[in-house]
Symmetry: C2
Subunit: 199 residues, 2 copies
Amino acid sequence: MSVEAGQRRRLEPDARREQILSVAVRLFGERGYADVSTTDVARAAGVARGLVNHYFGTKKDLYLDVIRVMLTVPEVAIAGLPDGDLPTRIDAIVSWFLDVVSRHSRSWLAAITAGGMGGDADIDRVIAEAIDAAADSVLTAVGLTGSGPAQHAMARSYVGLAVSTAREWLQRGVLTRAQVHRLLAATLLTMVEQVFTDA
Amino acid sequence: MSVEAGQRRRLEPDARREQILSVAVRLFGERGYADVSTTDVARAAGVARGLVNHYFGTKKDLYLDVIRVMLTVPEVAIAGLPDGDLPTRIDAIVSWFLDVVSRHSRSWLAAITAGGMGGDADIDRVIAEAIDAAADSVLTAVGLTGSGPAQHAMARSYVGLAVSTAREWLQRGVLTRAQVHRLLAATLLTMVEQVFTDA
DNA sequence: TCGCTTGTTGACACCGTGCCAACAAGGCGA
DNA sequence: TCGCCTTGTTGGCACGGTGTCAACAAGCGA
C-alpha cells in the first residue's frame, strides 16, 4: 500500500471523487459490471463503502461516470485532417481512428460494447452519444458537414462496422492492422460515393 | 389468470422447463436482465421461485438459455439461394437477413446486443456463436465456402455492420428498409471484390 | 386404498446495495 | 495553545435478490 491504510484522512471533495473514480475505472475495466461490487471499489480506494454512494449515488451512476471517462477521447487533431481528395481524407480518418482505438483499446473498446444485458436506458444513451461523436468525426472528415439524419444514421452504422472490425484486430487478433485499414477505407469510400448520395 | 392459480399441479419436467423458459423469454425481452428477478419469472409462471433454480440453476444460466432461444433463427431457405451472379446473390442474402431480423426484431436485435456490461464470458460466447453462424451464411451466400480465418473475421465484421444498420432502421426508425438494403448490398459487394481477396 | 417416486414448495442464510445518524479531522478565531 | 465548528468520513441498519435444501404432496402403480 502506497497510501497509509488505517488512518483517516480528509481530502478535498474533487480530489476524493476523482480518486474513487480512477479506481472504479480500473476495476470496471478489468472485470465486468456485475463482478465489481461497490465494496471492491471502496476497498481498493481505501475508503468506506458509504463514501462511494455519497459521491456518486447509485452504483449505476458510478458506472455511468466510468464509461463516460472510458469513452472520452482526445478530440484534438480531428480538424487538422488533410484537404486532399476523398481517398486521402478517408485514409487519414481511418488511421486516426485506429490510432485512437489501439492506444487505449481495452477501455474504449470494452465500454463501447457495454450496451447490452437487456440494455439500460441511461447507459445506452451515453454510448449512443459517443457513437454520435465518432459518426460526426467521420462525416466531417469526408466533407459531409451539412448532412441529414439519414447520413448521420449511416455514419453511425459505419462506426458499428469500425468497432466490430477493430475487435477482430485488437481482441481476437485474427486481423492485422493493414487488413482492418483496407476494409474500413474501401467500405467508407463505397458508402460515401454510392450510398450517402441517395438520402 | 388462465391457469388455475393456487392449485399445485405436476408437469412433466420438459413441459415445465419449457413453460418457465417461454415466460423468461418474454420477460427478458420486455425488460432488461437486471430489472427481471427470478421472483418475477416464477410469479409470471405461477411457480415457486425455487423451481426456477431447480430447472435452470443460476439466474445467469437461465438468461443464457433465454438468449439462446432468442438467437435461434430458422436456418431454412439459406441453401435455397439463387445461383445468379454476385450482385444477385448479395441481394438475396441481404433480403433474407432483413426479413429474419424484422420478423422477430425485438428479441433478436436485443439479444445480439446483449454482450456488454463488462462482458460476461459465457454470454459473449453465445453471442459470438450466433454472429459466427450469420457470418457463415454470408460467406456461403457469396460463394466463399472454403475461406480462411481472415475472411471469417471480415464476415463477422460485416455482420456487425448489418446489426448496427438494422438498428437504425428497426429501433431508431431513421433509415428505411430500402436504404438499409442498398447500404448493406453495396458494402458487401465492395468487401467481396476488393477486401476479401487479399487474405 | 396404500405406498412410493418425484415434481414442487417454503424457508433459511448469505450477499450487495442504499441510506443515515454519528464521528472526527483540520482549519479558524480567541 | 485551546476550543469550536464545518464537513469529510465512517459504520451499522434495513431491504431486496439469490442459491440451497429438507420437507411436502401430487399422481401413478400395486
